[in-house]
Amino acid sequence: MFIQALLIGLWAGIAGIDQFNGLTHIHRPIVTGAVVGLILGDFTTGLIAGATLELVWAGMVPLAGAQPPNVVIGGIIGTAFAILSGQAPEVAVGIAVPFAVAGQALITLLFTAYSPIMHKMDTYAMEGNTKAIDRLNYMGPLFLFIFFFIISFLPIYFGAEQAAGIVGLLPAWLISGLGVAGGIMPAVGFAMLLKIMFKWSYAPFFAMGFVAAAYLNLPILAVAILAVAIAGYDYMSQGNTPKATPVVASGIDEEEDYSDGI
């Protein structure tokens, strides 16, 4: 069992990387199920369980950045338990989903923990040290591999009941609190973007975009088209006199500097 659990862990690590990097979709249950079937010596059950889990996760996709229950953990643990327990693939779904939800909470934690790394990257950017930026970027998949390896190896090696007990030990407020923090976190990124881009003369357009999305629930594309229309109108109504101001590609930002005082 150790060798099989090890192989499944390694496979989960690879699939986990693929979920976020590469995206060749070898991480979908239809593929992971078949491979787990191969490892556990029951290829046909693996195929069938994979197909069942694939359809369960068909609607659970990362829309607008929101992360559904983790598809890698769900596919791999679900198929493994279907084969090991001899249960029907449908039962595997019930086992797979709680693990996938817990796994996603931990991934939220991982993505939160990676935020400070960006400031290291900022420093390297200012030094022009591209090699160091490359290195930090390669580290992410490594963490993903380790994470997915552990979270798939342990439950399969020790059995479901013990693993479920460990999942249950995490206090609920901790998991949900990290999820909440992850949801709010983009505000920090937007604030930094605003610090660079925001000028009071552009505030009306920011307000327009916000209202269109918050009140009218318009998708981002619709907001962008509206904004392009407004920008086009603004562009043309400024008077088409590019000849009057010979444009030098430097030093053109003076007019907007007054925003710094506010």
Partner: protein, 285 residues
């Protein structure tokens, strides 16, 4: 400001200038460079995090091009730091933005314009990509594969992978070259009136950021209080009545204000985690 002075005291936002030390325009990007950047785009989400999302991976993807274009070290640093900011788009369509942006970098457009175009493109492509891949290609390929697999047919996963990846990689390479060519063509007509273009790009960029704040920042209260006999849901009953997405907007500008006050982004991250944990402990969410 000399770009050589790299100390932690240099404010990151002041570091990003709008102009170049070396403004000479030279065509240096080859097809090979573009392909190299396509392969790098596979690691777009390698350093994914909630603060900047794909910012690190996006910069990583542009590095071969940026290094070739900006031979001046100071210019390279500024470009790298500028791209390191918040970025999020659909991971399959990113090469289109990469192509356009690399064409603009090669043409040494001013940084505000590049930034504006980048931000204006990333949001809409996110929505298009969701519709194209998650809601169309994946269900179709997955459905065909699953119907074969459920009969115990080995072809299930194989056909799924082939169908999915022909479209996936085909689009990645096509969009990079298409984006680059579009970028270079469009730029020559944009060259006059840089200031006006920069303004137009900023208008679109800020409108999109406004929409992103409303759509991406997920800050809701789950608190229900008893007003006499009647339970009142604070989020739906009070806050949403004042203004939907009030909390995301207020929190974003609170962070903006703190940044302007000179607080470090790390402090803001710590504060956000603390709010999440404490709020969840006392049942605020």
């Amino acid at each position: 400001m000399a770009s050589k002075e790299i100390t932690t005291t240099v404010n990151k936002e002041d570091f990003i200038k709008n102009t170049y030390n070396d403004p000479t325009i030279e065509k240096v990007i080859t097809k090979k460079d573009l392909n190299k950047m396509v392969w790098r785009s596979l690691l777009l989400q390698a350093s994914f995090n909630y603060e900047r999302m794909q910012g690190g991976g996006w910069t990583f993807g542009l590095i071969p091009g940026l290094k070739k274009i900006h031979k001046d070290e100071g210019d390279l640093s500024v470009a790298l730091l500028d791209h390191m900011q918040f970025f999020n788009t659909h991971p399959f369509l990113v090469t289109f933005v990469q192509g356009i942006i690399i064409a603009m970098e090669e043409n040494k457009e001013d940084r505000a314009t590049i930034r504006g175009i980048k931000v204006a493109l990333m949001g809409p492509l996110g929505g298009i990509g969701d519709a194209m891949f998650w809601l169309t290609l994946l269900p179709i390929a997955g459905g065909i594969g699953a119907s074969l697999s459920s009969q115990g047919n080995v072809a299930g996963p194989i056909i799924f992978l082939i169908a999915f990846n022909i479209v996936h990689f085909g689009l990645r390479f096509f969009l990079m070259h298409y984006g680059y060519n579009t970028g270079t063509k469009a730029i020559s007509s944009l060259k006059e009136g840089t200031k006006k273009i920069s303004r137009a790009a900023s208008i679109v960029g800020l409108a999109v950021v406004g929409a992103l704040v409303a759509s991406y920042v997920n800050f809701k209260l789950g608190l229900v209080i008893q007003a006499g006999e009647i339970p009142v849901n604070i989020q739906e009953g009070v806050i949403d009545q004042i203004m939907p997405k009030l909390l995301p907007l207020a929190y974003t500008f609170f962070c903006y204000w703190l940044l302007k006050k000179g607080k470090s982004p790390l402090t803001l991250i710590g504060m956000t985690v603390l709010i999440g944990l404490l709020g969840s402990l006392v049942g605020l969410f």
